[in-house]
């Protein structure tokens, strides 16, 4: 018979709220359903309960008792995210997890107990299942969801065990274990209401004079089926401590979502970023549990009084760095404000595997993939995705063209290829020789050029150049001077088959005091421009 563990979070709407706003944990707080005078308390913190606030009260009644009672409405986004987070915790232990309701889930515990070993061979009351239960409870507590754990062979027994784990006088963090084969005996004294029968079926059973699950389980199965039909047969199977249906494992969603409905619509950016930081931090922690990074982040905003806004960021490499993600959000919202007050928000992260990197003993130090991803994301946020990458030569002749590909460096070599510490025994030569480079001017600077014939055999050559006055050249390097030496022209022709052919005549010119330039004349228009400085 297989073993099931049940994780149950008491007062789940409250636990989900406190997970999003942990600073309220010690306050008198109530979670309500409904609006205005009809708002009814669903759950309250211990501080509020101690002052007399109970579930079912209206908010007005509760405030009469505790005037400073903080109230939050039920938040579907918060609860969905908390439910997912609980399932992710369970999935760290078992791949087969079924969500049974708000704050309740089952996981297949078969074979898991073998993972645990006692700290000391003589530890009293130690069993592998108890250790599994403790580990589950501790992991959920760390995630901000104080779950209780029950382990049994049937779902109902496991759930009841979890719900009774925190009964008065017992430690709520200790799991409640129901031994294999004793499920029927464990359920027998419980009232029939625990079986949650349908309304009509429940009335029928009461009329039969049945008070407990054990009374019902003792009835002959065939008689129950003949009188109550398939629904009764299923209920009877459950009452005997047997699951009529096996565990239905969930398909983990691809994306992680975290968000919140706001108490008041926000119009300023900083308060929103404060809440966004907390939500992104929760996403980051969930990604860490899965060992993944965020490859794409989307933000959905619900606007007041009506309307929606959506943004998305493709990250250059998966990252879990909250600060980087928050910077992306900040820069985007500063550049493009939503235009209305924000009533709710939802972050959706698409996870992906982070890049692995193997360091070497004798090669150069490898880059940390996590740090590199963060750096790239920051650069993207600062400069934009079209201005960061790894350059590649383009098939063509025009120097202003460029190609950028995502920066994904290959692994570091196993041994440094050309590490050479300068040796005092062999001093370097007295003069150095290197390659002269071209500093490209993007876009080219328009010029006014005086041209004079050099001789009968040569084409006219530039004799004086000056950058054109105008707004376009105001903030560009100034070029002006008499040409000392000019060499050229070299013709460049590209794309003659296309609608925008390029034909240029290039010259290398040395100005008297201003340097070496590469200039060209557009053959079609006759305009001159400088597109490079030899440097």
């Amino acid at each position: 018979m297989s073993r099931l563990a049940c994780l149950w979070v008491p007062l789940f709407p409250l636990a989900a709220r406190l997970r999003a706003e942990p600073e309220l944990a010690g306050e008198a707080l109530a979670v309500t359903a409904g609006n205005g005078a009809a708002a009814q308390i669903v759950a309250a913190t211990r501080a509020a309960r101690r002052l007399g606030v109970t579930a079912g009260m209206t908010l007005v009644q509760a405030r009469a008792l505790v005037p400073k009672l903080a109230a939050r409405n039920r938040d579907n986004a918060c609860e969905r995210a908390a439910q997912e987070a609980l399932a992710e915790i369970a999935e760290r232990f078992s791949p087969r997890v079924e969500i049974a309701g708000p704050g309740i889930l089952f996981l297949d515990a078969d074979g898991l107990a073998g993972r645990f070993r006692p700290a000391s061979p003589t530890a009293p009351d130690w069993t592998p299942e108890r250790e599994l239960g403790r580990a589950l409870a501790a992991a959920s507590r760390r995630a901000g969801l104080p779950a209780r754990v029950g382990i049994a062979a049937s779902k109902l027994a496991a759930q009841v065990a979890a719900q009774t784990a925190g009964s008065p006088g017992s430690d709520p963090t200790e799991p409640h274990i129901v031994a294999t084969g004793s499920e029927a005996g464990f359920l027998a004294p419980l009232p029939l209401a625990r079986l949650a029968p349908e309304l009509g079926l429940g009335e029928t059973l009461t009329r039969w004079g049945l008070a407990s699950i054990g009374d019902f389980a003792r009835l002959p199965a065939a008689e129950v089926v003949s009188r109550l039909g398939p629904a009764g047969a299923e209920l009877h199977t459950v009452a005997r401590g047997v699951d009529p249906r096996p565990l239905l494992p969930r398909e983990p969603p691809l994306d992680l979502a975290e968000g919140s409905e706001l108490e008041w619509p926000l119009v300023a950016l900083e308060p929103f970023l404060f809440l966004a930081h907390a939500a992104l931090d929760r996403i980051s922690r969930r990604l860490e549990i899965r060992g993944l990074g965020c490859a794409r982040l989307a933000l959905e905003l619900t606007l007041e009084p009506a309307g929606h806004d959506a943004r998305a960021w493709e990250l250059p490499a998966p990252t879990r760095d909250t600060k980087t993600l928050l910077t992306l959000v900040r820069l985007e919202l500063e550049a493009r404000p939503p235009g209305a007050a924000v009533a709710a928000f939802l972050f959706v992260a698409t996870p992906d595997r982070t890049r692995p990197e193997q360091g070497t003993l004798f090669g150069p130090p490898a880059l940390s993939p996590e740090r590199l991803a963060t750096t790239l994301a920051r650069l993207f946020a600062l400069l934009g995705p079209d201005r960061v990458g790894s350059p590649r030569p383009v098939d063509g002749h025009r120097p202003e063209r460029l190609a950028l590909v995502p920066f994904a460096p290959p692994a570091a070599p196993l041994v440094c290829r050309s590490f050479s510490r300068p040796s005092p025994a062999a001093p370097p030569p007295a003069s150095g020789k290197g390659l002269l480079a071209v500093r490209t001017l993007r876009p080219p600077i328009a010029l006014e050029v005086l041209v004079e014939p050099r001789s009968a055999d040569h084409e006219p050559a530039p004799t004086h150049i000056q950058s054109l006055a105008g707004e376009a050249n105001d903030k560009r390097p100034a070029i002006a001077g008499a040409v000392r030496i000019a060499a050229g022209p070299w013709r460049l022709e590209e794309g003659w088959w296309s609608a925008t052919p390029v034909a240029r005549e290039y010259w290398d010119v040395e100005l008297d005091a201003a340097g070496l330039f590469r200039i060209y004349r557009d053959v079609a228009t006759g305009d001159w421009a400088a597109d490079g400085v030899y440097d």
Partner: protein, 265 residues
Amino acid sequence: MIVTRRLTSATIPMAEASAIAPLSSPSGPRPGLSSVLQRLEGPLAGRLRSGRELASSAVHDEPRAAPWSIALPGLARLLPGGLPRGELIELTAGRSSGRFACALMLLAAATSAGENAALIDLGDALDPQSAAPAGIDWSRLLWARPRAVREALAATEAALTGGLPLVILDLGLPPLPGGRGAEAMWLRLARSARQHDTLLVVASPYRVAGPAASTVLELTRGRALWSGTGSAPRLLEGADGRLTLTKGHRLLAPQAQALRLALPA
């Protein structure tokens, strides 16, 4: 025996460094150590340091990791110890003095050795096609193209925190867009470079980093080299220049070296 490049004062406590100090003696390495050094490959022997050296470097707080090898001989003569990691080095030059060529040669030296590097290119000046003869491994180069000085400084800081061992910030040609009010950033960048053990080279048309730069190199333009005379067709072959070390560790007076830059054939 510990043989690793990152034997630093930060990774080895003083007590441990002293514990392995007997490997060396005041007159030099002990015979045992010498024989081991001889048997090791040249590159590894260059990196092996004794405990006494480690203790000494911890006391004097010297640059920790191995310096960069220098591809340009003129530069190698001025800085025989190599370009030190973890420092901010300023390279100033006017137009056509070889500043961009030096930056590309440094990038080529780093990337061809299997290290990654970043070029923060304020002037958007890199043309991969014409820079190909420099021998840069493009796959190891991160190229960022900021629009203003402020963006360039922020991008440099981001690149430094990424752990890239070489970051070159090229400020392009004057006028520098949005360059006012950024003076305080240079000290911050120098600290960041030291913290991440990164060599940060600031290539600028004039001095900008002030006291944050530990080494300052100045390039001055010489004459351009042309082939052909008289009425014969001219062809640009290269340019002469002069490289002067104006600030450096234990530098008493500026030192200069001639530099010749040729156009690739």
